[in-house]
Amino acid sequence: MIENKTNKPQRDGFWEKLSKLNRRYIYMSVGICVIVPLLIRMRLPIFITPPTKSLYNVVDKIPPEDPENMLIISFDYDPSVMPELQPMGVALLKHCFAKKIRVACMSLTVMGIGLAEMATEKAKEEFPDVKYGEDYLIFAWVPGWSIVILKMGENIKETFMADYAGKSLDEFPIVDKIHNYEQVPALVCLTGSSTYLSWITYANTRYNETICTGITGVIAPEIYPWLQSGQISGMLGGIKGAAEYEILLKKNKLSKVEGTASVAMDPQSITHLLIMLFIVLANISYFVIRRKK
């Protein structure tokens, strides 16, 4: 209820009611906007942004089946940001498996190792012939964060010593000729935090390692200064970045299966539209009520 100029209580109009909209209706609308586009696909075209294209080119240029060249993907995130970052890991692994690029997974966070293992299993569904220890490997988790990055610049095998299941790295031919960053043409850090800064500071600045990143949507704008300076060579921004990478893989006939990020684009589009509609309605209601007062 609002009071008019004669101080008589007045019944709430449409805009007053709208401004007090119960949050449950908002939650319900968001839920519907997420679920319905998953069931009824719109398949909107996905535009490829330059940072995604750059990352794709960096990975694509790594010599295939070369024992002295390996891509490292660092899964530096927890399951909380997995919906955004996991499709990136899967897409990158598929790219490597399709082009026979040797790849190693690692993580600076404890839970990242489990997520790396999940991503490799998912990517292997399309490439069942790839072999653990020959085509790809998951390093053990080692505490120390920035120290791990620095130590890898001196000796990768000495840093990890074992794979994630505790087997000595000497048993895996994939790392026979991998000594330090010199045999790693690029490293992709997937993260929902500021881990990319540690990779820039210690691996790029000190060892001149090419660093690319896959990052959650909210952090993506922070990456642009590093992209412009060349300290980061490519970026996947949020689930949209992962979807762009999946589209690139499909366009180049490296993957036939539609990835989860591409599927998630429709719900994201509709939910963004819904939030925009809410903001517009809230602002109209704000100005209408202010004018009445």
Binding site: L21, F47, G114, M265, N283
Partner: protein
């Protein structure tokens, strides 16, 4: 001694490794390599302290039957059982450790974080108002980015991604770079204060 010794180690280590960075001699590299090994080993002890803290905090809560003590039983039981399975069976696919990770940890973490979308929608509805000129500019930019970053934006207007890229590459980047430079200078200043023993907060006791 309890305070002087760590200060001496910090000062010595800081100065030695600043100098070491500029000397590419094999002896210098060997010292650096050995220091890295030490630091990884020291990092392990941080986890030992974390475990001790976890058991002390929750153990005390359970012992004194404080309100909600039942919740404290859960992390302790989870830590002991999952840890034990990890040590006995290992962490390969198919083990209890990995099953707990796949079917409990992952879905629970992802679900809790996904709730953010619902809260953000509600918060945007209640707080995102064009009350001032600055707020209006923020609102317009947010609108453009929200619309342009999802496939429906370029589908409606093909020029939108270029505008979004311009926003990220110029105004947004200028602000981000300014903050990054400030943070960088702050890190250098604080590091020097720690190495020189001016800043002692890291020793505990509020730097007294």
């Amino acid at each position: 001694m309890k305070r002087t010794f760590p200060l001496v180690i910090c000062f010595g280590g800081g100065i030695i490794f600043i100098i070491q960075f500029f000397i590419p001699h094999p002896v210098s590299k060997a010292i650096y390599d050995e220091a890295l090994n030490w630091l990884i080993i020291v990092s392990v002890f941080a986890f030992a302290i974390a475990l001790e803290s976890l058991f002390r905090v929750h153990g005390t809560k359970i012992k004194r039957r404080k309100p909600g003590w039942g919740f404290s039983v859960i992390p302790l039981v989870a830590c002991i059982t999952v840890g034990a399975f990890g040590i006995i069976q290992g962490v390969r696919e198919g083990t209890v450790f990995m099953k707990v990770f796949h079917y409990i940890t992952v879905p629970m973490s992802a679900t809790v974080f996904s709730l953010l979308a619902f809260y953000m929608a509600s918060a945007a509805f209640r707080a995102f108002r064009a009350t001032t000129t600055r707020a209006t500019v923020l609102l317009i930019v947010a609108f453009l980015v929200m619309f342009g970053r999802v496939p429906i934006g370029p589908f409606v207007w093909k020029g939108l991604p270029d505008i979004i890229e311009w926003i990220f590459m110029y105004p947004s980047m200028a602000a981000t770079r300014g903050i990054a430079l400030g943070v960088g200078l702050g890190i250098i200043g604080t590091s020097l204060k720690i190495i020189l023993g001016i800043e002692k907060g890291w020793l505990g006791g509020g730097g007294k």
